[in-house]
Amino acid sequence: MSLSTYLQIDAIPLLTLIVLYWNLKTKFSGVPNAKRFQKLVLLVSFMLIVDGFNWYFTVVPQEYANQKLWYINILYFLLTEIISYFWFSYVVHQLYGENLLPWQKLLLRWCIVPLIAICLIIILSPWNRAIFYIDENSVYHRGSLHLLQVACGFGYMLTASFLVWKQKQKEVLPEKKKECNALCYTVALPFIGGALQIINYDMILLWPFTAAALFLFYVSFQRNQISLDALTKLNNRGKLEQYLLHQRDSKKDPWYLLFIDIDKFKRINDKYGHMSGDNALRIVANALKITLGNTKAFLSRYGGDEFAIVLDADTDSEVEEVIKLLNKKILRECTEQNLPYSISLSIGYAKYDKTNMSSLEDLTNLADQRMYQRKKAAKDASKIPG
């Protein structure tokens, strides 16, 4: 292979990662964990450059080839370990966020020890020749402890995947499950690339495939940003519209659309400020997640103080049951948090079955109308003294 080929192999993935980095920086700066993702992208970009030089020094005859090979290989192995550790750390933060107990945090901090140890061994390679060495003819050889470096990198990756797998068993929301899947898939591509590279030494695929994996992960990361409402972490209206179309075309029959409106939300907002209003929205969203999380219901924020749910149910009484549960949950939440205002919901629903219903618009309108009727009824009832 010629020099220009080597340049191309790493240049295109590098270009891709630069684009991703720039995009993450400008568009997702406020998103939690985006910074960690950014760093990961930066590290892999750096790795691609090192990888390119490594091949270049190995293949093209050089002056001072011996020293150059020593330096570049040390850098290469260091980066490999650091990238694996960063992936591990990213996954842990993505899974548990800030919900870690103190002892878990401590344990997490100790996880860096293998990384530091292996890094020291790598840096001292010219003296201990444990991981690799370059002989007098500038030829690269594996050292006696070469497997240690592989084990450390793999260890971090596999532990991360194991944690994801364990967490997936616990999650109830389908969106969360999808996120876990994305975290799992991402590791597969570098493994395939690495395997191919082991089979044929000339296939320089490990790091380009890692770059592709980062892009794949970016796609799911971005989809979450697009389809989730930032405040409540429920699906947003755009996603609901997509889901309704999907539901209409599916075989399921019948199903229900529920519209939920917080009573006197405007008053909470005006009297206690926007912050309280946001809090009220979060309370309702959480109640929805807890009551309906492990059913197949689709939860979304429709906009303002309105929520919409798509529910698989056969009869009206099933829906009424769900509504009862929901109201109970919210009442309990309000008393627990000692709020100065009370939250009550007006809920309207409509049934979709293929024989009677003509369009989604009719369904939406019907559910909406019934919600307003209930709201009005509730208002009238409260006006009657006694």
Binding site: T5, T16, G30, D202, L205, A212, V219, Q222, I226, N365
Partner: protein
């Protein structure tokens, strides 16, 4: 060049494009533009694969290899101009909402006959060897007319580039102008790649750079979804929050920056009496009035949520801000006087000035504007 080298070069862009294709496929296609984009993506993906196999089989002899090589090469030569034509078509639609489908039938006929002429030229190559030929060792050889596919491809790409630059130049609305120039930048990548590949024989940059360009198009589209409110086409609340916090952190907010909060009066009433679709329509009308007033200025327009809008704009002093609100009210009155719709629109508004004293209290900024707005609303209700 051997097989492995071509795998190395082409596998990554193929995977990249495949991921993009799949992820756009999973989203439900809503507009003609999405569909056009998807067609371009899939075609680019397939040509990448074809190209890879062309190179891998180059110089390898086995039973049937000669026929296979011809099939692959002919596919490649016909698809390559087709794809740049699809890109041009997509750009035309993006900029002017004109695509091949909308052309009058005479123009269509001309384009189709030119295309079939070109295809014929390529198809008879096994007999004539004009464009290319394949020798006894199953190697690709350039024919005397080898440059024709390059030139045709190039003409389409360059016209797409020229078109987007020309449009950017002509456009008055700032956001549209920026979009056109972005398109021009994106389309220039394959142009550069194609050029380099023609000049330097062992650089295979044309298709990989096209893949990068597709990536940029894709990200551009997705970013649009993240920052834009889908109903009104204004920026969404997330964008506004990010804009303010980022500028605040970098101390980039210039003096005399004003935040305006607007609230549609009686929106709930419109929603309740005429239903949600009409309510949505009212919001779109209100957004259009704002766009018309501020489209050519530096102001940032956003839908803050529900029936609330916000504007960020630089003003010299409070008087100018008040004047601005005055002209806004007038614009809404003008809309009402036209009387095309069953409802009337009016707004309550408030503003607050950003100065260095409230540096770390963006919440305050919004709150102040909000309070002023509610006071106005209350006052109106009383009168």
């Amino acid at each position: 060049m051997n097989i492995v080298a071509h795998l190395n070069i082409h596998l990554f862009p193929s995977i990249l494009l495949f991921i993009i294709c799949i992820s756009t496929h999973r989203e439900r296609i809503r507009t003609t533009m999405d569909r056009l984009f998807q067609n371009v993506l899939w075609c680019t993906f397939f040509i990448l694969l074809t190209d890879m196999f062309c190179w891998i089989l180059d110089g390898i002899v086995f039973p049937g290899s000669y026929v296979l090589a011809w099939i692959l090469n002919i596919c490649y030569l016909i698809m390559s101009p087709l794809i740049s034509a699809l890109w041009l078509n997509y750009i035309c639609f993006y900029l002017r909402q004109i695509s091949f489908k909308n052309l009058i039938s005479r123009k269509k006929a001309v384009i189709i006959s030119l295309a079939s002429l070109y295809s014929l030229l390529v198809l008879i190559s096994p007999l004539t060897g004009w464009v290319c030929s394949i020798d006894d060792h199953n190697r690709y050889q350039r024919g005397p007319l080898y440059f024709i596919p390059y030139i045709v491809t190039y003409i389409f790409l360059v016209s797409a580039l020229v078109l987007s630059i020309y449009h950017g130049h002509k456009e008055v609305l700032k956001s549209r102008k920026r979009e056109s120039y972005t398109l021009a930048c994106l389309i220039s990548l394959p142009v550069i790649g194609e050029f380099l590949q023609l000049m330097i024989y062992d650089l295979w940059l044309a298709l990989p750079l096209t893949a990068i360009s597709a990536l940029l198009f894709y990200l551009n589209m997705q970013n649009h979804q993240i920052t834009i409110d889908s109903l009104t086409g204004l920026n969404n609340r997330g964008y506004l929050d990010r804009y303010l916090t980022e500028r605040n952190l970098q101390n980039e907010i210039p003096d005399g920056l004003y935040l305006f909060m607007l609230d549609l009066d009686h929106f709930k009433h419109i929603n309740d009496t005429y239903g949600h679709p009409t309510g949505d329509h009212a919001l779109i009308q209100a957004a259009d009035i704002l766009k018309e007033m501020f489209g050519k200025t530096n102001a940032i327009l956003a839908r803050y949520g529900g029936d609330e809008f916000s504007i960020i704009k630089q003003c010299r002093n409070d008087r100018e801000a008040l004047h601005l609100i005055d002209s806004l009210n007038k614009a809404f009155e003008a809309f009402n006087q036209e009387g095309t719709y069953p409802y009337t629109l009016s707004i309550s508004s408030g503003f607050s000035r950003y100065d260095s004293s409230c540096e770390h209290h963006l919440e305050k900024l919004i709150e102040n504007a909000d309070r002023m707005m509610y006071e106005q609303k209350k006052a109106r209700k009383k009168s």
